[in-house]
């Protein structure tokens, strides 16, 4: 077998140039390890958080801003005013949809018999939230549309909050005090995380998880001054700028609608017509300016992946490129050292292709061994990345597919880096090689 023969020659040559070979293997290993770890981090955080349903979930945006104030901004605000959100929510009862926002509210805990308040991260949402995002329940269930609309004081706890307040037991039916009002617990969700948390990027896609879930209207009617999520206001009137959730000049509500197939076009033209109606009513001053991105587009345009993760990935790419260029330099050195051998083989009848093939196999073998070491090192780099004091750090990990991609990349790129040095050697005249070597 010719391949076996080339492999044997390659191994012999490694043995003869132990130091150089080790240097090349380590160089590739370094490059691949950093690439593999940062690529894994990036791919752990990217992808469809809804596992294939991300393309069916849409984020309607309409533009109530006057042209005079936001001339420079061509895209509509990220969120909706309460009035628009309610109108759009009511208009599509046949679709699953969610109206939601987030803030923190004081919740009373009883620690050692003493009542003490602490702030808890609260999500206000309409009933479909749990079904739409497939939230698993440990105890109980969510609330119904009717309960939500009636503004009933019911609450769903996160697993961690239930652990903290009730020691993890089934707390459904118990009452807790939130923002001075009694709430009945109707459900406790199991461990659940949306990565990235695309449905509300206001505090970052990897901010702390929600601790309480409260029906949207109930939440809105609470005595509170703890903010209403990502509120953005515009107005010349001071009174309208008072961060009033009911204000027509403040956007803060996030709306998500599930649309299947052809529903998209219909819904978009509905948004368009809605904008025209609002303009006719005098609420909007601009021509219709609507957007309907799906969850995946939303994640991309809002740059949900932290910049630090992307920066690390790009620096690792450049490190890999430097390592490959270094390997190419080292290959030049190594192949040059074996001129006599190549000259002799050519003189004895080996074709230049045979020499080229042998060198490429050598390069591939270095890529393979370097790649394997790289994969081992990448776990070490991953532990460093996981130490980042940021919400995303606990979600990044190396998947088997990342390892496979990295190993393939290692072999392919090392072979590529070896092509020019190998061509130079194999095309050289055997006479010169014998004399110069």
């Amino acid at each position: 077998m010719l391949f076996g023969y080339h492999l044997k020659l390659a191994i012999n040559s490694f043995w003869r140039n132990r130091w150089l070979t080790c240097q090349m293997i380590l160089t590739i290993a370094f490059g691949i390890s950093a690439w593999c770890a940062t690529f894994s981090a990036l791919s752990s955080l990217s992808g469809d958080p809804l596992h294939g349903r991300g393309t069916n979930l849409y984020h309607p945006q309409v533009d109530p801003t006057p042209a005079s104030i936001r001339e420079a901004n061509a895209s509509p605000p990220s969120n909706l005013t309460l009035r628009d959100a309610r109108a759009l929510y009511r208009a599509a009862p046949q679709n699953m949809r969610v109206m939601t926002s987030r803030n923190w509210l004081p919740v009373v805990l009883s620690l050692g018999g003493v009542n003490q308040s602490r702030m808890a991260i609260t999500r206000s949402t309409t009933a479909d939230f749990f079904k739409l995002f497939r939230v698993p329940f440990l105890y109980g269930h969510g609330w119904s549309d009717a309960e939500g609309d009636a503004g009933q004081r019911v609450v769903v706890l996160s697993k961690k909050t239930n652990q903290q307040l009730f020691g993890g037991r089934n707390s459904v039916g118990s009452v807790i005090e939130i923002a001075t009002k009694p709430f009945v617990i109707v459900g406790v969700i199991d461990q659940w995380e949306m990565i990235p948390r695309f449905y509300d990027l206001s505090d970052g896609a990897f901010a702390s998880n929600e601790e309480l879930f409260i029906p949207f209207d109930t939440w809105l009617s609470l005595p509170q001054d703890y903010g209403y999520g990502p509120m953005v206001c515009w107005s010349n009137q001071e009174a309208d700028m008072d961060h009033n959730p009911e204000s027509d000049t403040c956007t803060w509500v996030q709306l998500w609608v599930e649309l299947q197939g052809a529903g998209f076009e219909g819904y978009k033209s509905f948004l368009h017509n809605y904008s025209i109606d609002q303009r006719n009513l005098g609420r909007y001053t601009r021509p219709p300016n609507v957007r309907l991105p799906n969850a995946l587009t939303w994640i991309k345009t809002n740059r949900a992946i932290p910049d630090s993760v992307r920066v690390q990935y790009w620096v690792a790419n450049s490190l890999l490129l430097v390592c490959l260029m270094s390997t190419a330099v080292l290959m030049v050195v190594k192949f040059r050292g074996a001129y006599k051998e190549f000259g002799l083989r050519r003189a004895l009848g080996a074709s230049s292709q045979a020499i080229f093939k042998q060198l490429i196999i050598e390069a591939g073998l270095i890529g393979l061994i370097g790649g394997i070491f790289g994969l081992i090192f990448s776990f070490f780099i991953m532990t460093i990345l996981q130490r980042a004091p940021d919400g995303y750090a606990s979600y990044i990990t190396i998947h088997p597919s990342d390892l496979a991609i990295s190993l393939f990349l290692s072999i392919a790129t090392t072979v590529l880096a070896g092509v020019i040095p190998a061509l130079r050697v194999s095309l050289n005249s055997p006479y010169r090689q014998l004399v110069d070597g």
Binding site: L20, Q23, T27, F30, G31, A34, W104, P106, S117, R118, M119, A179, T180, K181, P223, Q224, D225, D307, S308, R310, V311, Q312, V315, A316, S318, L319, L321, V322, C323, M325, S326, A328, V329, L330, V332, V333, R336, G337, I381, I384, L385, R387, A388, P389, D390, I420, R424, D436
Partner: protein
């Protein structure tokens, strides 16, 4: 320098490899320029003091719960906290690195207020709690601090040295008036520095105080402890504040040092990862450079022998290889610096990165040349040891 044409000739014979090496160095230098600048900024940010007595300041966030009792007035809380052991001063207001606003001011009424400054404001005791020290004039007199409710007042302020020069062209500006769109200020003293987080105006700062009485606000209380007692003082203050305002919530109780560390921690973590990657890259590049120089020495043993036989000294041979390396590293680094700057300007449009000044590029440039020389030294020495007798064995 008679060897210069010789060197060029030798390098031209190995064009392909030389180009590869120059590209490798250029690319490495470009990455080091960008990552190094980011790391440098993080290191300087974590070392630069904000100008306040950081190690003795504590922060307590105290939020009221709507619908429950409002708690004590701010002035009463402050007075009670001040009586605690270990506590030297207290104030109600936001610390540097957190709440600071940007306002526009001018030095006369006839000028439009167009100088952006960082504006810090707190209650009575604010300047003492921050531990500010004046270098000109004096701290704001307690009797001069106007009530928070007073309208159209002349607020006494402290300004930083840099702002004094910016506004009045001199440091001595005590008693001068400063105007913003809606307020008037009188300079009581000049402090050396007070850094804010607002870029561009980071050290152009104004500190103002207003006196609180019966206002019942939720917000941030600052305490300054006697040196070395911040932990005990903070624990006592948090407990006291809770006793005084049982229905309030304290989401944040932290020393200023920890607060500062937390704010920087994400950037520090990124800088550490980048430092690791850049270090690996530099080592890899340096070793390939060393290996290639070593190969060139081996290849040219005969030529070296001839030159030695014709009268070149060992040190001349050594210098020859070092200069050859200097040329390659110099050309590579020059390209690298240009590439680095171009990358920086492009990255500025995608990420929030600062503009790299040309002067900064001297660092990666010199570093690269220095490392190149270090790694060429070994092969150059071995070249200088080539015996002239080698030509007898051709």
């Amino acid at each position: 320098m008679t060897e210069f044409p010789l060197m060029i000739c030798a390098l031209r014979r190995n064009k392909g490899t030389v180009v590869l090496l120059v590209a490798l160095i250029a690319f490495s230098v470009a990455v080091v320029t960008n990552c190094g600048f980011l790391i440098f900024n993080v290191v300087t940010d974590s070392l630069t003091s904000t100008g306040v007595d950081e190690s003795n300041i504590g922060i307590i966030q105290n939020i009221g719960v709507i619908g429950k009792s409002d708690g004590l007035p701010v002035a009463e809380n402050l007075a009670q906290l001040e009586r605690l052991p270990f506590v030297k001063a207290t104030a109600f207001g936001l610390p540097p690195l957190a709440g600071v606003s940007e306002i526009e001011v001018a030095n006369s009424l006839t000028q439009p207020p167009d100088i952006s400054v960082s504006y810090f404001e707190g209650s009575q005791g604010f300047q003492e709690t921050l531990g500010l020290k004046v270098i000109e004039g004096k701290l704001i007199d307690a009797n001069d601090i106007p009530d928070a409710v007073t309208q159209d007042k002349l607020l006494p302020i402290l300004i930083t040295q840099q702002l004094a020069i910016r506004l009045f062209g001199k440091q001595n500006c005590i008693g001068e008036l400063v105007y913003s769109e809606s307020r008037r200020f009188r300079v009581a003293g000049v402090i050396a520095t007070l850094k804010s987080t607002i870029p561009e105006v980071t050290d152009l700062s104004i500190v103002a105080s207003q006196r609180f009485h019966d206002e019942r606000y939720g917000g941030i209380y600052l305490i300054r402890s006697k040196p070395g007692h911040i932990d005990s003082a903070l624990a006592l203050a948090s407990k006291k504040l809770h006793e005084l305002n049982p229905y309030h919530v304290q989401p944040l109780v932290q020393t200023f040092s920890k607060f500062r560390e937390d704010r920087l921690s994400k950037r520090v973590a990124l800088a550490q990862v980048l430092a690791l990657l850049v270090a690996i890259q530099s080592v890899v590049t340096s070793f390939s450079m060393g290996s290639l120089t070593s190969l060139w020495v081996t290849q040219r043993k005969i030529q070296i022998g001839i030159r030695r036989a014709l009268g070149s000294t060992a040190s001349q041979v050594r210098v020859y290889f070092l200069i050859e390396n200097l040329i390659i590293a110099g050309v590579g680094s020059t390209f690298g610096v240009v590439l680095g700057i171009v990358c920086n300007r492009l990255l500025m449009q995608i990420f929030e990165v600062a503009q790299i000044p040309w002067s900064w590029c001297l660092f990666p440039f010199i570093l690269s040349i220095f490392v190149g020389q270090m790694f060429a030294l070994g092969p150059a020495i071995s070249a200088s040891r080539v015996s002239p007798g080698i030509i007898m064995r051709i």
